[in-house]
């Protein structure tokens, strides 16, 4: 099920949450809506779900070519996973998952046995067999999240929407679930959209990343594409670590810390290199980060491998030469 969004505007009172937003989501893709708080990404997700409606006007939402802009959430066939899961507290896991099927109108509703079967299948899919009689408060965060997912999938949605699916979880659990979600998506091939403010998550998981800011879409593309070719300083800075260097002619150049070369001060090439002193050295981990203060007062972060650090034998207070070349620098 492809999704086509065109010219969506959304205002809450005087606050403009979405401004002329248009987007194409290909069938079967895993798309990330990435942006800081207040960028409009959750609002957009909720409008796609039918939990909010766009302002009157030219705005349209199409599911596989069909206009669903005025269709209520229940009839759009979307599965929604809420940020805090919104599990039904007083129901068991099995009752939660089977809920969507149990509220179908009489003629379409499966029998109790069929619902139970489907619930068990889904529990197996999300690797929570045996937990069917538990209640939400007896589950861990990661387990609740998977129940929420199973519940959304039970109604056989055509689109899966996830609102900050890993936001409430510990870092380790988050990493594991991220991998799991990617595999899961590859297995079932359902068109999926998720909202996140974590660029690492978006770049790692998605087929397509939509960077949003201040109610608008800044850039759309494959993760590698937008990382290598950001179209604005905002996108550049949001997607990874940044160094901003100003030239003598007032030009600002952006360069990633891992693309900066560091040499002994003695090896400096005066034409291309600058001299600086290492203010701070952080080397607990696979990468060493050097915080360098240039002669002209500007600061620069440099990332090198631990091996390089050892080979160079550098320490805090050392003088070094910093080299960047035009291919690693970006100017806007």
């Amino acid at each position: 099920m492809s999704i086509s969004i065109s010219s969506i505007n959304k205002t809450f009172g005087t606050y403009k949450a979405l401004e002329d937003v248009s987007l194409e989501v290909p069938n079967g893709s895993l798309t990330a809506l990435l942006g800081p708080s207040g960028s409009g990404k959750t609002t957009l997700l909720r409008i796609i779900a039918g939990l909010e409606f766009a302002d009157d006007g030219p705005g349209k939402i199409l599911f596989h070519g069909k206009d669903v802009s005025a269709v209520t959430a229940g009839k759009r066939g979307v599965g929604f996973v809420f940020q805090h899961y919104a599990l039904f507290r007083h129901m068991t896991v099995a009752q939660n998952i089977g809920f969507g099927l149990s509220v179908l109108p009489g003629s379409q509703r499966p029998s109790k046995v069929e619902i139970q079967e489907r619930v068990m299948d889904l529990l197996k899919l999300v690797k929570l067999e045996g937990l069917d009689k538990r209640r939400p408060h007896e589950l861990s965060g990661g387990q609740r999240q998977r129940v929420a997912l199973a519940r959304a999938l039970a109604i056989r949605p055509k689109v899966l929407l996830l609102d900050e699916p890993f936001g409430a979880l510990d870092a380790q659990v988050r990493k594991g679930l991220r991998r799991w979600l990617r595999q899961f998506h590859d297995e079932i091939g359902l068109t999926t959209l998720f909202v996140t403010h974590d660029q690492e998550e978006a770049l790692e998981l998605a087929d397509q990343v939509v960077v949003m800011r201040n109610a608008r879409i800044e850039q759309v593309g494959k993760p590698q594409q937008i990382y290598d070719n950001p179209r604005s300083p905002f996108v550049y800075e949001f997607l990874g670590n940044v160094n901003k260097l100003t030239n003598v002619n007032g030009e600002t150049r952006y360069v990633r810390p891992h693309e900066v070369e560091v040499l002994f001060a003695a090896e400096q090439d005066p034409l291309t290199d600058r001299i600086g002193t290492i203010q701070h050295l952080f080397s607990a981990g696979p990468i060493a980060t050097l915080s360098v203060r240039l002669k002209d007062g500007q600061f620069l972060d440099v990332e090198i491998s631990r091996k390089q650090l050892e080979d160079l034998g550098l320490g805090a207070g050392d003088e070094v030469a910093i080299r960047t070349n035009s291919s690693s620098e970006t100017v806007f």
Binding site: A73, R89, H137, A154
Partner: protein
Amino acid sequence: MKNRPVTTESPIVRVLLITSAVIILTLFLLMPLFAVFAEAFRRGWEVFLASLHDDAALSAIKLTLIAAAVSVPLNTLFGLSAAWLVTKFRFRGRSFLLSMIDLPFAVSPVIAGLVWVLLFGAQGWFGPWLAERDIQIIFALPGIILATVFVTFPFVARELIPLMEAQGSDQEEAGVTLGASGWQIFRRITLPNIKWGLLYGVLLCNARAMGEFGAVSVVSGHIRGKTNTLPLHVEVLYNEYQFSAAFACATLLALLALLTLGLKSLLEQISGHKAGGH
């Protein structure tokens, strides 16, 4: 320095506060309560039971029960609808509705009764219209019910609104995305989540409905045996110097109060246990 949690007071302050609380409780609550029972049994068991078996007393009890039986379900229905509306939706006039719900609390009970007299009394706005059709509202059961409904209006709503506000709409929205209808969402998602708060509100509503004096006094006309509720009957007996009888009837109301408090504690305990798991 003795080791005690940072948030407790020093022993002296604690003793002082607890002692004052106990003194106030005893003076204003326990002594009067004790006095009611003492006076009621002063002339012995037989007089006590006779006072309650008296025709007028029985009719007063019956009237009180009827007034509660009508106003509690009505206000529960109203409270549920209002709380649902106000907490799950945003609409123009929402704040106005919230203020209106609190109106019966702000108004003196005498006024609460008077408005009905002004509307439906013989000289009231609808007086002549009602007289023509031989419909008696004031100084009759309908008037009593109206007054009771008015003063117990807010109880269920006020109990539910903060509860539902705190619970948010996430679960209801989940229900929407899963295709449930409004009624299904209410019955299967909202209602189970609020059941303890609902019971609590109904309990308080009932206690007030049975105990209301001021508003009902104005509309009832005090027709012995016909339009006296139990609280009114107590007043009538007292004014006729039938103290033991008056206090005997009063014990019924006191027992109602104790029962209400007991159930309230029980509800708090149960719901506390349920909520504790989160």
